[in-house]
């Protein structure tokens, strides 16, 4: 039963991923990619890793919703309301993607997977974390925070409007000139 559901979900994931390049609307492309990710999330749940599965739903839905906005914004036609295709460099891309798919599929069957030893873990999320990170857990937590700080500073540095634009050259303009007033009355 589980392997049948797993197989169906796998097929949905692959086909929805391929649909991205078939449909002619940016909205449909974005959301068929989301369907693909949601199928992968469901597979994680099926494997017993519910926490990671549900988290994938949160991450991917939110990410695709925002990405859709940018996809439409940077399209060649205004507002994304005209049909368009996601295909570029058709032949090369086809060779690469089919090749990658074949290599990975062959890998699934070629790798001598170890048989199960002992009982399934009680807390899959914890065991997955320890298996992935091992002794480097603390290091990775620190690096994660550093990455977040880098992202925030990156956004701040690229922001077109800094404090001198808002508060004036002497930083003494109150209230600041903002194109849109914020909610806390700064």
């Amino acid at each position: 039963m589980e392997s049948v559901i797993g197989g169906v979900l796998g097929a949905v994931a692959v086909l929805a991923g391929a649909t991205v390049f078939v449909v002619n609307s940016m909205a449909r492309a974005t959301y068929s990619l989301l369907v693909s990710f949601l199928a992968v999330a469901a597979m994680l749940v099926l494997l017993g890793s519910t926490y990671v599965g549900f988290l994938t739903v949160v991450m991917m839905t939110v990410e695709m919703a925002i990405m859709g906005v940018f996809m439409l914004m940077y399209m060649m036609n205004p507002a994304g309301l005209m049909p368009m295709s996601m295909r570029h460099n058709t032949r090369g891309a086809l060779v690469l993607s089919v090749g990658t798919f074949l290599v990975l599929s062959v890998g699934v069957f070629a790798v001598p997977w170890p048989g199960r030893q002992g009982k399934p873990a009680r807390d899959v999320t914890y065991d997955l974390g320890t298996a992935l990170m091992g002794r480097h857990m603390l290091t990775m937590i620190v690096i994660g925070t550093a990455l977040l700080a880098t992202m925030v500073s990156g956004v701040m540095l690229t922001s077109a409007r800094g404090r001198y634009d808002r508060y004036g050259d002497e930083l003494d303009r109150r209230p600041p000139t903002d194109p849109v007033r914020g909610g806390v009355g700064r």
Binding site: T50, F54, V62, G182
Partner: protein, 315 residues
């Protein structure tokens, strides 16, 4: 056999419960709609009449029966998926809320599930706005995304804070951990932010800008007939599901004197639901860009501090 996170067989999904869930949610949604009509009359200083209170039911029947309008070149597939997801995600949210001492879909990470189906609203509302191929609908969809960027992070931290109390992401365990002291006493800030977020992701009242009149109804502008019914039911349904979830997370679950657990749980759910509905008639509309600053500069630090306080107390 599906094991859903290695739970014992006795904790499996109850099929009868799963079939009854949409009915239960629709029932609570109707209660919310009727209450809203009542509050509207009170806010206008009129006497509440019975005819007025059955208005939402009549409107629901009308929407079921009328033929739906369509627009020029809609993306019908995405439009319908978006609208249906608003209601379906609310049902899925209610599925992990413990009714009595177990949820219809018991999960050791039910709180994360609640968050995950709430995130589906981001896609659902934008698709509802996009699908109609109408400028006002799309404006509404974009407004909801702007609103989501404001409420989502504080909301996630609120859920985590509630989980810290019970040292678990299972709503049943979190509810049971509140013997003696309800979480709302321990974490009032988190409770308030939870209610604010619930009103926000239900695009209700002060946060109804995605469906506001200045955009001719926004995401709801082009919806008619059964499509509109599904989205409006889903909106009230989300208010109801969040009210139901607030009981195990903050209000001690079914605990209370004399009456059985289920009665207390229903009573608390209805009180919170009425409070959420009343927000529409109490507070003015907040624009998404203004709320963004409030959320990031006030709510987020406040909830972080709340999480810290709760973590220190619990440890």
């Amino acid at each position: 056999m599906l094991t859903f996170g290695l739970l014992p067989v006795s904790d499996q999904v109850s099929v009868v419960g799963a079939l009854l869930l949409p009915v239960l949610l629709a029932g609570l949604a109707v209660v919310a709609a009727v209450a809203s009509t009542g509050f509207a009359a009170v806010a206008a200083g009129r006497r509440v009449t019975t005819i007025e209170l059955v208005g939402p039911l009549r409107e629901g029947l009308r929407l079921l029966l009328v033929r739906r309008r369509t627009t020029l070149h809609p993306d019908a597939l995405l439009w319908r998926i978006g609208g249906a997801t608003v209601f379906v995600s609310a049902v899925l949210a209610l599925a992990v809320v413990p009714i009595g001492d177990r949820a219809v879909v018991p999960s050791a990470v039910g709180i994360v599930w609640f968050n995950a189906v709430e995130a589906l609203l981001w896609a659902a509302l934008w698709l509802t706005g996009w699908g109609a191929n109408s400028a006002t609908g799309l404006v509404g969809g974009y407004r909801f995304l702007a609103l989501s960027l404001a409420y989502e992070l504080p909301f996630m931290l609120v859920l985590i804070t509630a989980g810290i109390r019970g040292a678990s992401l299972d709503p049943v365990v979190v509810a049971q951990s509140q013997t003696g002291l309800w979480s709302v006493v321990l974490m009032p800030v988190a409770f308030v932010v939870y209610l604010v977020s619930a009103v926000a992701f239900s695009f209700w009242g002060p946060f109804s800008q995605p469906a506001a009149g200045d955009a001719a109804g926004g995401v709801l502008a082009e919806l008619s007939g059964v499509d509109r019914l599904v989205v409006v039911l889903g909106r009230y349904g989300w208010l109801a599901a969040s009210a139901a979830m607030s009981v195990p997370l903050f209000l001690g679950g079914g605990s209370g004197p004399v009456l059985p657990d289920l009665a207390w749980q229903l009573f608390k759910t209805l009180v919170v639901l009425l409070a959420l509905v009343a927000a529409r008639w109490r507070w003015p509309l907040v624009r998404a860009e203004r709320f963004a600053e409030i959320a990031w500069l006030v709510l987020l630090p406040a909830v972080l501090l709340q999480a810290l306080v709760v973590a220190v107390i619990v440890l």
